[in-house]
Assembly symmetry: C3
Homo-oligomer: 378 residues x 3
């Protein structure tokens, strides 16, 4: 029913060989192989989750889907977090959100629209999700505003307060996610029904045991591959002359979302726009309201609390994506030009992240700031 | 028809005792008592205005309602203005706008939605008001942009020009408000009819004289209590370790809007969503287009012209609230999750204002700025 | 069918006399005469384009209209570009976008609404155009964000990279424009049909040869007058004490769009809202997605590459205009208050640009920056 990405599994052994065969140490090749290898295995996590969800009944099943839907992104980001690469973690959150909205939905609408002149989807369900995404975008702007504002105050900016502020925001986002689950799985599931029916239909018919086994194995493999991927980011930056943020926003985000991507595009071409839109928006929503808060909670567990302060380009990318999504999803109809519009925004943001020089590590030193033009110069 | 808040009247004598009884000087207690005492008296201003409005005919009545609807906020802010506490004035404008949109409407939709699966309101009237709120949000961003931009120019930033700019903006906002009144009370009143009918029905049946008398007395009492409230802000900041902005945005805004709040929630639970939405949006609109300009005009009368330059967190709060309101009010339907979404935004903004350190008084000194990271560092 | 502006042609000889008659050198008078003289001649370019378009068949005709529709703005900006006045070029882009959205559409809706209680237009076509305008607004924010962000990095900000970034953005915008043409003239022309039918009907019945001749002559005259106009900006700034940005945003934009303006207002008063909205939105779209990129390409041809970095007030103006337009055009209905709202925003932005002091030429010097408050102080 969807194009098999299983041939990419060949990169799993390739990655292992590159990593452990003596004398074959090539970080760039290992980075590429790990990235490609994660794609099909992430797809298997998805299948297993769906199969399991179909076995355990509706409510728990929906919860399972909602929790494991972005397992790959969570694992990659979690490993980056454990290595203290918070820049990569935040960049991959940004990248997953904009990647799903602009790239996945953009291609779905464009390719769907190439076959079908006009396509329709249930706008009521989409509306609720998009509002939650707007809420998340507002939330993720706040720590940066806090930093700017606090730095000018009598008592100055405190990283400790900012981490507490970020924890507070993460808690509110997480609670909102729980409410969204109750809303979409319980009180107002008729808003989302058509999509669910289709999803169940297409799931594999595995036994509960088989599903759990595959889930565990696939998750472990993704964890190992993510370890390789994240471990080679440093070398890749030097080799290809690209920045940490570009790797996070573009590369990691594409790798982690490839499975959703292919499903959403195939559904759009079959004129099942509800499913296609549901996957793209639902996946962004899960990253913003579930994965991002979870990573903050994890960072406190690891004893190295992470704040949610994003860079200005990341904020622009998230706010712009959510805003364009709101405009495009508002009327419950799509046509090919809307796909072009989403992809144009992605392209423009991609160019921006490609052109951006490496961000200074840690807090900028006073000397650097003296060279910085204030916003006032604009 | 709505829950009586009259038992809070007990705090009126309490506040008087605390203020004038020798030896009882406790600013924190006086602050709390004054705040609680204002709530029911502000409600009485509302009843008297409605009763009077019902007596004087439709057009003038609408005007009365539109002018006295936020008398309490106006009085509190006016007294803060006369003491030169422009920070408190602006914070209470911000707080009233976001409080009505996020807190009042959020609770109304959540509690209404808990009883009624889906609720409807007339989206055409709401749309016009929300566009005016967007216009106001744009206007209130401008002085800050002016400051940033002018500061980098050859001739530098001038507080005198900024005050003139703010006066110009206030005049445009005020004229827009007059147009809105003509639109909603004259040329297109059918957009707003259902709400009006209900409002009249619930108003008290007082004679014109009684209504005026109560209006005058209640206004005087609110003025005295506001004097106490504003006079104790300084001590409260020290005692509770909270900032002037937090007091203005959260405390003053809740106190000033408590009466609207209870009415809006009750109406929502009775499934009269038109009324509920009308109160919340109408009240924000009045603050933004009528009270804020009026305070600027007053400040020129007092000889201490106030500009309309808001802090970055205040701007974020206003823009974000109006944007979320636009999304939620767009389809003329509400359900409980939309209430959760509005309250989540309020909670997140509340956390931000709580965490913000005290803003440096006046213009930041060059030394402080040198320590400030420019926006460039993001 | 529309009010003749031909009496303004008297200013063509006046401008020539003022420029070439010895002893009559008065830059301010020449500036005003040239500006007024461009208005009717730009109108003639429009008539000739429409007449030619009607003669060459639908597809090519649409393309012609879409390409020459803003010939006057393009010529004025091109001449400013050739003189290295990039500040004026960018200001006139900003001014044309906001002028069409706020001033042209605002007056159309207000005056149309004064005659007709409620007016309707096809919201599907408008929606697509408004989304493209949002995309353009996002694109035009990016170079400024790049500058701010890059300036804080290890390697610092580079004007060369920013020009390449701007070129990349211009290419994406241009490709999007081509897609929009294919969409509106080919695959989905039924979204835009009613407007087209009307436009053809009103065009002049000139032979192909006559149309081309008039087009060539009118274009040459506009080029000469633009040369005068741009050449006197420097003196006008000094004489009237207004800034380069104010001249570009307000004066040049009004002059270049006067012809569209009168047509759009007349159509609105005839209750042909589709045409009126189509002219205003289409014209902004053309500036943002066609003229702006073309000017960047031209600047590379001239060997003096221009970036697309706009000032903060210009960005605010564009984002705010497009956002208000989205809100107002969303329901396919207009009434007079929406005209007031658009004009209020224009007025407020006009006050801002009037109050802004002259921007420092080139990159601000370090000394100036030291005096600049960082955004942090807000």
């Amino acid at each position: 029913m969807k194009p098999s990405l299983n041939w990419l599994l060949i990169f799993v052994p390739s990655a292992l060989v590159l990593r452990f065969w003596p004398g074959l140490a090539n970080p760039a090749a290992l980075f590429i192989c790990s990235g490609l290898a994660i794609i099909p295995v992430a797809g298997w996590i998805g299948h297993a989750t769906e199969a399991l969800a179909a076995r355990v009944g509706e409510g728990l099943g929906g919860l399972l889907n909602a929790t494991f839907g972005n397992a790959a992104e969570l694992i990659i980001a979690g490993i980056a977090l454990s290595k203290g690469l918070t820049g990569v973690v935040k960049a991959s959150i940004t990248g997953s959100i904009i990647g799903n909205i602009l790239l996945v939905l953009g291609f779905s609408i464009l390719l769907g629209g190439a076959k079908h002149k006009e396509q329709r989807f249930n706008k009521t369900g989409a509306r609720t999700s998009v509002i939650s995404l707007s809420l998340a975008a507002i939330a993720l702007v706040i720590p940066t505003v806090f930093h700017l504002s606090a730095a000018a105050s009598r008592d100055g900016w405190s990283p400790v307060v900012e981490r507490q502020l970020s924890l507070g925001i993460a808690i509110v986002l997480f609670l909102t996610y729980i409410c969204m689950l109750a809303f979409s799985l319980k009180t107002h599931k008729h808003f989302f029904v058509s999509a669910e029916g289709e999803l169940e239909e297409k799931s594999e018919h595995w036994s509960r045991g088989k599903a759990i086994l595959i889930l565990v194995i696939a998750t472990a493999v993704v964890a190992v591959l993510s370890e390789f991927l994240v471990g080679t980011i440093e070398s890749v930056r030097t080799t290809f002359g690209i920045t940490e943020v570009f790797v996070g926003v573009i590369v990691v985000a594409i790798v982690g979302n490839a499975a959703e991507h292919s499903t959403a595009v195939v559904m759009a071409m079959k004129n099942k726009m509800d499913l296609s839109v549901g996957i793209a928006i639902g996946s962004s929503l899960q990253i913003a309201l579930f994965v991002a808060p979870l990573l903050v909670f994890l960072s406190w567990l690891f004893g190295r609390p992470m704040d949610l302060e994003f860079s200005l380009p990341e904020i622009l990318a998230m706010v712009a994506s959510v805003y364009i999504l709101f405009q495009i999803s508002g009327d419950g109809e799509t046509n090919w030009i809307e796909g072009v519009q989403l992809l144009s925004v992605y392209l423009i943001l991609g160019i921006l992240f490609y052109c951006l020089p490496e961000v200074a590590e840690g807090t900028p030193t006073p000397k650097k700031e003296a060279e910085t033009p204030a916003l006032g110069s604009y």
